[in-house]
């Protein structure tokens, strides 16, 4: 075989038969490389020992039992929103409105706490909160679903716009229900009476959230994998034509799935207001609706992988925060570190799907793995 002088230098081929462990290894290597990059950056900028950096990251989430619970609570909330967007994603319905669906549910919960506190007993308020939150989230998901299935509107833009409506509504009601007057904020709702506050179980404030989300996770797994609805969702996602052909009513599936998506966001909103924060602000959901998109994708829409991914993201975020406080850097620095880590993890997806061959000039075929 003669050598060619114009052979392409980089040659990309698709991988076949990817073993189950392979993505895990690639992600782990990517994470390691990301930490090395962060360490180098920190070393150059601050002169700190890279190992103390790693230590800080771990310390940020596992340093004390309180920190562990905060981490678990954050993981649970992120996981809950991620689980909510997943059925829609499996259907190829690009719902990026989980932020708004959750926030509008927060508003519904807070409204029940404020408006019903003098009328109903505590348990009834909680029941109303749960119902109202799920309904509000479901409606926020239903509206774009109806427009999509009836008139073929673009769901991505539509769900995004619904986020702003939710934010503005919350901003408006924050002024209507402001306390104390003139502050423009709601503050802790029912601080004295604790009406509408979810019960603390096992002496741990956040345990209830973790249990509820754990159950949702399990249920979602079975729903998507083994139920008839789950099967219909997959068929609609893969091929609308095939779905019609086997007699699946695509419009119905889209609407039903978005109601479900919105309702699960509603549960997240209910937990955020009723169990975690007991207040209402426009930033209560804290971008989880968008982070959830990433969690769902990185986990390849598998509920159990989402537990790992959302925990990883929460630990990284808290670790980055810890680093910036410890070394006297501001919040932007922790954002940079989180950004670097995400860049590596998302970038590594390419190496899971494809293999890169490098041909060195004058050399036999050389292979570069990962």
């Amino acid at each position: 075989m003669t050598k060619n002088k114009r052979e392409p230098l980089i040659h990309i081929t698709k991988r076949v038969n990817i073993p189950i462990w392979f993505p895990l290894v690639v992600h782990a290597v990517a994470l390691l490389l990301a930490l090395v990059a962060c360490a180098i950056l920190t070393l150059v900028m601050t002169g700190e020992n890279p190992f103390s950096l790693l230590n800080s990251i771990i310390n940020g989430s596992f340093g004390s039992s309180r920190k562990i619970w905060v981490m678990l609570q954050n993981t649970a909330m992120l996981l809950c929103v991620s689980l909510a967007v997943t059925p829609a994603f499996r259907m190829r319905f690009w719902n990026i409105g989980a932020e708004g669906q959750t926030l509008i549910a927060c508003l519904a919960s807070a409204a029940c706490m404020i408006l019903l506190r003098d009328i109903l007993p505590n348990w009834a308020i909680i029941v109303c909160m749960a119902a109202a939150s799920m309904l509000a989230g479901a409606v926020w998901g239903l509206i774009p679903a109806i427009f999509k299935s009836k008139w073929g509107t673009n769901e991505t833009l539509f769900t995004l716009m619904m986020n702003y409506i939710a934010t503005q509504l919350v901003a408006f009601f924050c002024v209507v229900w402001e306390s104390p007057k003139g502050s423009g904020q709601i503050g802790i709702i029912n601080q004295r009476t604790e009406l509408g506050w979810l019960p603390v179980i096992g002496g741990q404030r956040y345990l209830l959230n973790v249990i509820v989300v754990g159950l949702i996770c399990l249920a979602m797994h079975f729903y998507l994998r083994y139920s008839k609805h789950g099967f219909e969702i997959s068929v609609v996602g893969e091929s609308v034509k095939t779905a019609h052909y086997v007699g699946i009513k695509v419009e119905k599936v889209i609407i039903r799935t978005m109601i479900l998506s919105g309702a699960v966001c509603g549960i997240a909103g209910f937990l955020l207001v009723g169990a975690t924060n007991h207040t209402l602000t426009t930033t209560l959901v804290n971008g989880r609706g968008f982070t959830a998109v990433m969690v769902s994708w990185l986990a390849k829409f598998s509920p159990f992988w989402m537990i790992m991914i959302s925990m990883l993201l929460v630990v990284l975020e808290r670790g980055a925060g810890e680093i910036s406080t410890k070394f006297g850097l501001n919040q932007s620095y922790s954002d940079m570190l989180t950004g670097i880590i995400l860049f590596f993890i998302i970038g590594s997806e390419f190496f899971i799907m494809y293999r890169v061959h490098l041909r060195k000039p004058g050399d036999k075929e050389g292979k570069l793995h990962v």
Binding site: M1, T2, N4, K5, R6, E7, P8, H11, T13, K14, R15, V16, N17, F222, Y226, S227, K228, H229, F231, E232, S234, V235, E238, S239, K241, T242, H244, Y245, V246, G247
Partner: protein, 512 residues
């Protein structure tokens, strides 16, 4: 090289995709002034080989010599510069532009459409094409679009033309026209490669055939020294019987009666215009027509997937003569009455199967609603999958392999196999052998005949007229959404059917 007449010489070309070797040390010459037919079963590596000549893939090993000089083709642009032009199965034209604009598109320099038109005219008159440079692509028939593609390639100075299944979408008359043009081009010294599965075309157009089997070069023959049987045996590697049986229908009874069926598409264009016919049990009703003449709409209307115009009627007639109207029923109800539709669209997976799902789940598409719980029963579909894979000899690593990973023939066997296992009383099948090699095609014909023998009313929409004439008991010819006639299959003549497809021959049997 040894033959100064070689336009392209491939030497030990190897191309691998992951674990599969698509081309294994293939050595082949393409000569000037000759039409070479490249033959092989599905997945034998014909298209991959041609893609390497046209710069879409880069070979892992081996050399390509153009006009005797070793050359590196690392992009389609390199290929064009070397005078290589490939006409793909799917046309790459901009609908809203004219022929001349499409041909000029992508070339540098100033746009001078007058000059372009003149050059197009010169090319056309040299080889016998007919192209109106100012006609918009959306106004063109499939065959006109194909002509534009060929002119486009010649305009760029191609001396080596590769055509990938060019006749799949043409009527017999259009095919003959294309062949005349190809012969003219050959006589002017161009090198032409044609990929096709239709044996009689190979015999009529090619000078030489080269045969690939499982990525390896098996051999070549001068066309005049060989015959369809020998070529098929070389392709498959063993002897294949090349005749389709056609048993007489046993006690045919009317099963589906279509009356005044009219269908408009989304833009309000008439796709079916007062179509009327009756399909009988135990009979194969062949449907012939140029692609896009309403075949798809016809089958979909029967299966309940098409909106029909008022006045249309489709009745299902049971064994004891009771009529039931199908229009207005949903696809699910129609399915449960025993009407099975296996439609193989151009992309094979578009309708009927889900590419990313495995064989089990694809079988489940038909049965997932069974049972009263909210959860799916996975055992029954698994058994069906085992049965289909076993009986139809589907080549698959396992039942858990996504169907998109299987070759076209196996995908089609799964689709047709699943529809048949629902024990239908009416089997609607369209393009069941589309793009399939000869061996898989005969398996499918056999399956369809089996259904016929069991008293199923089969409506078979086909592309290959020769097969339709051999397989069908009656042939319904569609032309522009109208029935231009129904002929008995046993003594229909190909040219007559071809005429009726284009409505040219004064067929008196025109309905309406």
């Amino acid at each position: 090289m040894e033959n100064s007449n070689s336009a392209v010489s491939l030497r030990n070309i190897t191309k691998r995709f992951g674990a599969t070797t698509a081309n294994d040390h293939v050595t082949l010459d393409i000569r000037k002034g000759e039409i070479l037919a490249l033959l092989g079963e599905n997945g034998s590596g014909k298209t991959t080989l041609m893609n390497m000549i046209s710069g879409i893939y880069y070979p892992d090993e081996g050399q390509i010599l153009i006009n005797g000089r070793e050359t590196v083709i690392s992009s389609p642009k390199d290929a064009i510069d070397l005078g290589i032009g490939m006409i793909h199965q799917h046309f790459k034209l901009v609908d809203v532009l004219t022929a001349a604009e499409n041909i000029e598109l992508g070339l540098g320099g100033k746009l001078n459409l007058k000059q372009t038109a003149k050059k197009i005219h010169d090319i056309c008159s040299a080889y016998g094409f007919e192209v109106d440079p100012n006609q918009k692509v959306y106004d063109m028939s499939v065959s006109q679009k194909q002509t534009v593609e060929i002119v486009k390639v010649l305009y760029r100075g191609a001396d080596i033309l590769i055509l990938d299944e060019p006749t799949a979408v043409l009527t017999p008359q259009e095919t003959e026209k294309l062949f005349t043009v190809l012969r003219n081009m050959r006589d002017s010294g161009k090198a032409i490669v044609i990929i096709t599965h239709k044996m009689h075309e190979v015999e009529s157009i090619s000078d030489r055939v080269a045969i690939l089997r499982k990525g390896q070069y098996v051999g070549e023959k001068m066309t005049k020294d060989t015959n369809a049987q020998e070529m098929t045996n070389m392709m498959v590697g063993h002897t294949v019987a090349l005749n389709i049986e056609r048993p007489e229908p046993v006690a045919p009874k009317p099963r589906i009666q279509v009356k005044d069926l009219t269908v408009l598409d989304e833009e309000g264009i008439v796709k079916l215009d007062h179509v009327s016919f009756t399909a009988y049990s135990g009979e194969i009703l062949g449907v012939a027509g140029i692609s896009g003449c309403g075949q798809k709409e016809l089958l979909e209307a029967i299966a309940g997937l098409q909106v029909t115009e008022p006045g249309s009627s489709i009745s299902y007639i049971t064994d004891d003569g009771q009529k039931e109207e199908l229009i207005g029923k949903d696809p699910l109800e129609i399915q449960e009455m025993g009407v099975a539709l296996s439609f193989v669209p151009e992309d094979r997976l578009g309708m009927g199967l889900v590419g990313s799902m495995d064989i089990n789940d694809n079988m489940m598409l038909r049965s997932f609603r069974h049972g009263h719980t909210a959860f799916t029963d996975r055992k029954a579909p698994h058994e069906v999958a085992e049965q289909v894979v076993d009986e139809l000899e589907v080549a698959t690593p396992s039942l858990n392999t996504p169907v998109s990973r299987l070759s076209g023939g196996n995908v089609q066997k799964i689709l047709v196999g699943r529809e048949i296992t629902t024990a239908p009383s009416v089997l609607l099948t369209a393009y069941a052998v589309r793009g399939l090699d000869i061996n898989s095609s005969y398996t499918i014909y056999h399956l369809i005949n089996e259904q016929k023998k069991q008293g199923v009313a089969v409506i078979y929409v086909g592309e290959d007229l020769d097969v339709l004439l051999e397989l069908a008991d009656r042939i319904l010819v569609l032309c522009g959404g109208k029935v231009s006639g129904i002929l008995p299959g046993r003594n229909a003549i190909k040219s007559q059917v071809g005429m009726m497809m284009t409505h040219m021959g004064g067929i008196k049997g025109d309905e309406k």
